[in-house]
């Protein structure tokens, strides 16, 4: 079965396959080769194609869900036989209304363009997209956190706990210290990075020294961090805003808040730029640096890494430190971001766990993580508008996220549905391998 490679030996081969042959290709050969690669990618279902098709399949299923949960539509189904046209029309209306509201809220709304021509606000055109980017920011960072650990063979379930570590430090530095404008922002961001890094480092150190499985350690540390946050806010009141009975910290100083840049009309949350820079840094680290080479080797084959003189344990510690730093930066980006300026006992939301799905969808590659985070950010932002504009609940957006990940994680299913040929050994087996630590 393991015989697909033809005889290796010194047998003659066509010269085209000889790597040493100094043969130049005519330009047309290159383009035809590219076209062939493009066609192959579609027919065989490269990861990118599978991802796109997964999104498509999720949208279709989501549409069905809308059609069968909307009360007006359900009512129309009741008179399916007396008035079949009405039922389908109602269903179509509900679906298109929901999805166009989702689109309006996530990307842009045609209405705002028309309004701008009639003296309305130009900035409004860009509002949805900047909202999507803003929602994508923390997911992008926790996604990078999970992704970089994963490339080193570790499954970081603890982005939530590391997020809290970062958020605590960033929030504390935000309200307890008084610094000049730009410096305060930077100090808080660095504080967030440090807070997360410490939590991540503990995981790496435990794994390296005792062999404790990082999945167990990170899950447990998440609980520790949830409770530490409640403790600091409630019991000791170190973080709690004075005079508050709720578990909430004071607002951070205005100087510590991340500014919007590019200001009206199109504006971007500075946090998003920080996250993009982090993605670029991670991409450089993984692909262009000796540290990343070491991480990837340890992730792909720890025993070969060891035989090549790399320290597997040191890699684990370092990569968890960096993963924690990224998740901590995510915490800081939320606290210092545009909408929330205070830390509450449940600020952490689902950023940590969404980071896992974002990393999965982005196939643990920084570029993929950026795109996946933008998609999720768009679904978050669009979901809110969808709920406001139609009777379709925002949960549909969450369902879409879930379905997309489900389909991406089951590439065989997508291949079967869309009748793609079996790709050559790419899939999520690498993800499954990660669980072995």
């Amino acid at each position: 079965m393991t015989e697909p490679t033809p005889a290796t030996g010194q047998t003659a081969r066509p010269p085209a396959e000889d790597p040493g042959a100094p043969r130049r290709r005519a330009p047309w050969q290159d383009t035809s080769r590219q076209r062939q690669a493009f066609i192959d990618a579609i027919v065989e279902g490269s990861p990118a194609v599978v991802t796109v098709l997964s999104i498509l399949a999720a949208l279709v299923l989501g549409a069905l869900l809308i059609a069968f949960t909307d009360t007006t539509v359900l009512h129309a189904w009741g008179s399916l036989f007396s008035n079949p046209g009405n039922a389908f029309a109602q269903a179509w209306d509900a679906i298109s209304a929901a999805y166009s509201a989702l689109f309006d809220g996530a990307i842009f709304s045609p209405g705002t363009v028309a309004a701008a021509f009639h003296g309305g606000s130009v900035a409004a055109i860009f509002y949805p997209i900047s909202q999507s980017m803003s929602d994508a920011t923390p997911l992008l960072l926790t996604g990078l956190s999970v992704a970089i650990a994963f490339r080193c063979g570790l499954f970081n379930i603890g982005a939530a706990g590391q997020w809290i570590g970062g958020a605590i430090i960033a929030a504390y530095l935000g309200f307890a210290v008084s610094l000049p404008p730009v410096i305060h922002v930077i100090v808080c961001l660095i504080g967030g990075i440090a807070g997360g890094a410490v939590v991540g480092w503990v995981v790496g150190e435990l794994k390296a020294r005792t062999g404790a499985h990082e999945v167990i350690v990170t899950i447990m540390l998440n609980y520790v961090m949830y409770n530490l946050l409640s403790y600091l806010l409630g019991t000791t009141k170190v973080l709690q805003a004075p005079g508050q009975s709720n578990l909430i910290s004071p607002n951070i100083a205005a100087n510590a808040q991340l500014p919007h840049v590019g200001g009206p009309p199109p504006e971007v949350d500075a946090g998003f730029l920080v996250a993009l820079a982090a993605a670029a840094a991670v991409a450089w680290l993984l692909n262009r640096s000796t540290i990343g080479f070491q991480f990837r080797t340890v992730g792909a084959n720890p025993s070969a890494a060891r035989a090549a003189g790399m320290s597997v344990e040191r890699s684990w510690v370092l990569v968890m430190l960096i993963a924690g730093a990224l998740a901590g930066l995510s915490g800081a980006s939320v606290i210092q971001g545009s909408s929330v300026h205070a830390l509450t006992f449940n600020s952490y939301g689902t950023y940590g766990f969404d980071g896992i799905t974002v990393a999965l969808l982005g196939r643990a590659r920084p570029g993929g993580v950026v795109l996946a985070a933008l998609l999720f950010g768009a679904l978050h932002a669009g979901g809110t508008i969808m709920q406001a504009a139609t009777s379709v609940p925002t949960d549909i957006a969450t369902v879409l996220e879930g379905l997309i990940v489900l389909f991406v994680a089951a590439p065989l299913l997508i291949r079967a549905v869309f009748r793609l040929r079996e790709a050559k050994g790419v899939g999520l087996e690498a993800v499954a391998k990660g669980w072995n630590g």
């Binding site: 079965m1 033809p6 005889a7 290796t8 030996g9 010194q10 262009r288 890494a305």
Partner: protein, 545 residues
């Protein structure tokens, strides 16, 4: 039973693994299938055993065409298979293992153990298999486990028995035992398909030899065909079967190992107080049956397993406690035993694998930044120099054939400035053509003045390369010999019969330095001290064949 394959074709995508293969196995015949790795032997047998369905062609048994949808159908038709990796449950007894899946019961679903046990005993006696039906498989030596597999097939009334690379895990004496069993089976009227890439074995056992190359039958030969003829058929060109090498011109001691002790995964001492030296410009070959501490010795030498005692000196510098990285920097070159596991990162490109242990040093890195351009040019030149057959340096190393993977590892290790080359099973699983290449490079390295330590369980390899031979048994080096030592003596030493062999001291006196002869003398009494304890009399393999 007469088995016939007609025009069997099996494709994997664009690759034709079997191309119109015709094969006739006559009753009572030992039919050898000879071919390089990747020639399509295993695919063919998987088709025959119902594990894969052919794209074209027919399987004909006694004139009747048959179709096998699964191994169950093949077994029912009288075909038995002994896989390269045994399919046994270690914690079950022999009887339990062989009856697994074909359990007989008596009333109320109770297992008829006594009957099963009788069946095993009867088969064992009839074919001289010498297997205790009540022994637990995990306690049996590999050769016996293989015979348990044979009993398993016989119990299912196999009239054609397929043995897939059966000798790859056996000692020379176990191989002799296997050959005896195979001849008994033949005498009992069964036919055997014997798959191998080893010329000598095939010549020794087969009645007829079919050679397969690149998925096609390239010829049938009688066992009287010469080595050179068979090798040429197999590879498709004339092959040099033995490396030509000048006598060694040893220089100063490079590797000095004194009383080195480590522990294996079960807590046994292996290596067990081992002492030896390797000089510049000589090849020391460590012979021994797989699993006698050679793997652990290499790991301890490389720092991948802690040394619990003794010392390792490289050029007089103590590296006993050094990390693997420090050892590599100090001039160790390492070709690990398991190339897929320890030698390569299969998902990484060839270019990345070629810098796996130098990626963080100039010219490939400045500071923490990798120089991708240098990594690319390095790959291009090494691919050319070592004749690595790959479509591109960016191709994942795991997709290369075994021989080319090994070339990648060799290229990487030999491109560094090394003082000592430590190569474990350097040609395991490689075809004749690649073996020739690897051996030639190793000898070249020796001639450049590198000290070379080869660990191999292939005696042919030891004889081909070694300037001195050390034999390992149960974690100890039991003897040093010159390459002039007869194969029977070496075989006995490898089987732990240290007393029988140490009577003949002639070999060790030829060892190139007084220190070695001295050490050999030290090592031998150690072997004499406990041979009785080590060779369990119940083990049939320990006895003379």
């Amino acid at each position: 039973m007469r088995l016939e394959l007609r025009g069997i074709t099996k494709r994997f995508g664009s690759l034709v693994a079997n191309d119109q293969i015709d094969l006739v196995v006559e009753p009572g015949q030992i039919h050898a299938l000879l071919g390089e790795n990747g020639a399509g032997k295993t695919t063919l047998m998987n088709v025959l055993y119902g594990l894969m369905s052919p794209d074209d062609g027919q399987i004909v048994i006694d004139g009747q065409p048959v179709v096998f949808g699964s191994p169950r159908d093949a077994i029912r038709a009288g075909i038995g298979m002994v896989h390269q990796h045994f399919m046994l449950v270690p914690v079950f007894t022999v009887t339990e293992n062989v009856t697994l899946g074909v359990e007989r019961t008596r009333g109320l679903g109770l297992l008829d153990r006594p009957r099963a046990r009788r069946d095993v005993l009867e088969l064992s006696e009839r074919y001289g298999l010498n297997v205790n039906p009540d022994a637990y498989v995990e306690n049996l030596p590999v050769g016996t486990q293989q015979r348990v597999e044979i009993i398993k097939a016989l119990l299912r009334e196999a009239s054609v028995l397929i043995l897939d690379e059966p000798t790859s895990v056996l000692t020379p004496s176990e191989t002799e035992d296997l050959f005896r069993v195979v001849r008994e089976l033949k005498a009992g009227g069964r036919s055997i398909v014997f798959i191998s890439h080893k010329l000598k074995e095939v010549q020794a056992i087969a009645d007829t030899i079919t050679v397969i190359r690149r998925g096609r039958v390239v010829g049938d030969r009688p066992p009287t065909a010469t080595d050179a003829e068979l090798a040429a058929l197999m590879v498709g060109r004339a092959v040099e079967l033995k490396v030509s090498k000048e006598p060694a011109r040893p220089g100063g001691v490079v590797l000095d190992v004194r009383g080195l002790t480590g522990y294996d995964d079960h807590g046994n001492a292996a290596p067990d107080e081992i002492s030896f030296q390797v000089k510049a410009g000589e090849i020391l070959g460590v012979a021994g049956v797989q699993g006698n501490g050679q793997t652990e010795l290499c790991e301890v030498l490389m720092g991948l397993r802690p040394a619990e005692g003794g010392s390792i000196l490289l050029d007089g510098q103590d590296v006993t406690a050094a990390t693997p990285r420090d050892r590599l920097r100090a001039g160790f070159g390492y070709v690990p035993e398991d190339r897929q596991e320890d030698g390569l990162v299969p998902d990484f490109s060839v270019a990345e694998n070629l810098v796996l242990d130098v990626y963080d040093r100039p010219p490939f890195a400045s500071g923490v930044a990798l120089d991708l351009g240098k990594i690319r040019t390095n790959a291009a030149s090494l691919i050319q120099e070592f004749d690595v057959r790959t479509t591109s340096a960016e191709r994942p190393a795991g997709t290369l054939s075994g021989g080319n993977q090994q070339k990648v590892i060799l290229a990487r290790e030999l491109s560094r400035d090394i003082k000592l080359l430590l190569a474990s099973q350097p040609t395991r699983g490689l075809d004749v053509g690649s073996i020739e290449f690897v051996h030639r490079r190793i000898v070249e390295e020796r001639d450049r003045g590198v000290a070379v330590l080869i660990v191999s369980s292939e005696l042919d390899e030891i004889y081909a390369l070694a300037d001195r031979i050390a034999v390992m048994y149960e974690g100890k080096i039991v003897a040093f010999r010159s390459p002039a030592v007869p194969v029977t003596e070496l075989g006995l030493l490898m089987a732990g019969a240290g007393d029988a062999a140490s009577a003949d001291q002639a070999g060790s006196t030829e060892a190139p330095g007084p220190a070695q002869a001295d050490r050999a003398a030290q090592a031998d009494p150690a072997a004499q001290a406990d041979p009785a304890g080590q060779s369990d009399p119940s083990e049939p393999t320990a006895g003379p064949s």
